[in-house]
Symmetry: C2
Subunit: 376 residues, 2 copies
């Protein structure tokens, strides 16, 4: 079968967003740059849509440079169709998407553009149940949530989970062996990652608790088992007391924390169950905090600083494969529905950044690059 099909129709130049200088959303401009050239193992995707991540905002401000060798065009995810592939892929073993097939995935940069070059192994087939607009809201947030729950905290045991636990103690025993459900606390519950984590938790019978601003508590209740606000009480406690009121004093097994500073890590520690894990994603609440060792030691706790963008392709491939096997069937069956809060065009990229930065949205802000393709 000839899967490769040189694309005379893919122009040498393409539209892409450029950061003209570090600063506010006004520093983003749509420009013409060279279309990416395929390297070994890559496919060329005509981008239908991409979406906004907090990492893009940090990059725009000059706080989160792309990894070495990665394009400085922002954008960490994409949906679209495969239009070309590098020659060595024609006879490659393993998964290679066909020309014309709908795919989505993560990239270390370059998503805000008409074309992206991406390793074939990082492509996730888009199920027929969703449009490419919806698909653009999936990769970064769902893979981040899945990474925390599966890879870091071991809350989604593989079918051989119990055996793995016995042999190498790398994963946990199935929750049933504990006589209770696993419990997960997610800060910023109305964010893309927060919603994804709660949706996955529900499917795997994990009790989820979110914290958010008072205004978003009601929205969070759609996905979480319990949703509490981050309004501090009289003693200055932000969430510890409310989480205990919901799930009791025996603690939570995983905390997904993009806040960290202020009182967050401290209260995280107080809430952890034995062998609990805090996955730190970012520092919205401040980057330095006091760490009380014994609080974490008593719980044999783990604090894991988790990033996805700068992982190796080898790691990302493994994560993507596990995600395809464990989560994608639920997206096809409609049990998991990505939440698109807003769609904008590539020309509205400045507005998109403004809305995400102002925390105005519940769910993802999708940037449609090719309106016709995105409807598919």
């Amino acid at each position: 079968m000839l899967r490769r099909c040189p694309v005379a129709f893919a122009p040498r130049m393409m539209r892409a967003v450029k950061i003209t200088a570090y600063g506010g959303p006004e520093k983003l401009a749509v420009t013409n740059i060279q279309r990416p050239v395929l390297e070994t193992g890559e496919v060329l995707v005509k981008v239908a849509a991409t979406s906004i991540n907090r990492g893009d905002i940090a990059q725009r401000k000059g706080l989160y440079p792309p990894p070495l060798g990665v394009t400085d065009t922002p954008g960490m995810e994409f949906s679209g169709t495969v239009v070309d592939m590098e020659a060595s892929l024609e006879d490659a073993p393993g998964y290679v998407p066909e020309i014309g097939s709908r795919v989505m995935g993560i990239v270390a940069g370059g998503g805000y553009a008409e074309y992206v070059a991406v390793p074939a192994s990082l492509c996730i087939p888009v199920p027929s149940a969703i449009s490419l607009t919806q698909a653009a809201a999936i990769p970064e947030t769902y893979l981040t949530a899945f990474q925390a729950m599966h890879h870091h905290a071991g809350l989604l045991p593989d079918k051989a989970g119990a055996a793995q636990y016995g042999a190498g103690l790398k994963t946990r025993p199935p929750a049933a062996a504990l006589g209770r459900r696993y419990r997960m606390l997610v800060h910023a519950g109305a964010s893309g990652v927060g919603i994804a984590a709660c949706q996955i938790a529900k499917l795997f019978e994990i009790t989820s608790i979110t914290t958010s601003s008072e205004a978003k508590v009601e929205a969070c209740q759609q996905w979480a088992t319990y949703a509490v606000s981050r309004t501090p009480n009289e003693s200055g406690d932000v969430f510890a007391e409310k989480v205990e009121a919901a799930v009791g004093k025996s603690g939570v097994d995983l905390i997904i924390d993009p806040v960290f500073g202020g009182r967050y890590l401290q209260e995280d520690g107080q809430l952890l169950a034995m062998d609990g894990t805090v996955v730190v994603l970012s520092f919205l609440g401040g980057s330095k905090t006091e760490l009380d060792g014994p609080t974490f030691f008593q719980r044999r706790a783990t604090i894991r600083f988790s990033a996805l963008r700068n992982q190796s392709d080898f790691y990302k491939t493994s994560l993507t494969q596990a995600f395809r096997a464990r989560i994608m069937p639920y997206i096809q069956s409609g049990k998991i529905k990505p939440v698109v809060a807003k769609t904008v065009s590539l020309d509205q990229i400045q507005d998109a950044h403004r809305m995400v930065e102002a925390n105005e949205l519940t769910g993802k802000c999708v940037v449609v690059v090719d309106p016709k393709l995105a409807e598919k």
Copy 2:
């Protein structure tokens, strides 16, 4: 085969150390208490020797109570011979030591006594190459070092290591795949855990660096690839600069840290390689410290608070089995030699605590409970 043999000779009462009140070494007294009664799956061991751990000292001070349901007799490890076993073990599958065989192992308490009752699955056969006195210096320190290196940091890949990494990313790739050796930093390098970690590192071609007081640097050089002192430089840096001078700026993969407070965790963070792990064992340098999030985030680091005593028997069995398979052959072959700094009798228990508390020793302080048996 009849393995059980009711022991008429095992008296109902036995000598054991009691903590008469929380406080200094003078609060330890040798008393007569009831011999432990076997519970399901346990064997009775006539103790030849035990040894002193920092946890025993903390327990004596009232700072480290035994886990629920565990005897308040101190002592977290033992060597000796099996003299009885609980009835259900006669036909038990898996490993059950025979009556009369020499064993060693960890217990959550009760080691400072003439008899201990211990799950059969936690017994480690003592190889013919070493005496029971030497054996008493092994379980707690070597299992703690092995747990950090194997279970927590994945530096000793199983034979199927690479495959496991690809599938579940629970362990690291073999060091060879990185094009360099793994590197490990151990604080308190002349401690029992420090020596054990360096000995294991050497066998698995891991570069080891220790920190210690100036007086113990020379001793540490026997086991470590590099040994540096913890004397601060003019800027107040304790070890970061010296470690970088030894292994370069690309960092260490594992730090075993019983110090934590002061500048330790901060300098740990600066020294970690990508995906590096700090295993915190105790708080000799203070229990609170400032945590700079981005330092750890840039390295995708993990901070793991590790304890062994309060783990489940299920976990300890798994750890013990892995340790028997991976490390014990090297003790039999003489490639790993436990370091006994001092042996004392049970009646000298106060002196033993004083010496360990004063950091006078390099290696373990073994307490001989039954001199005749211990010589074996």
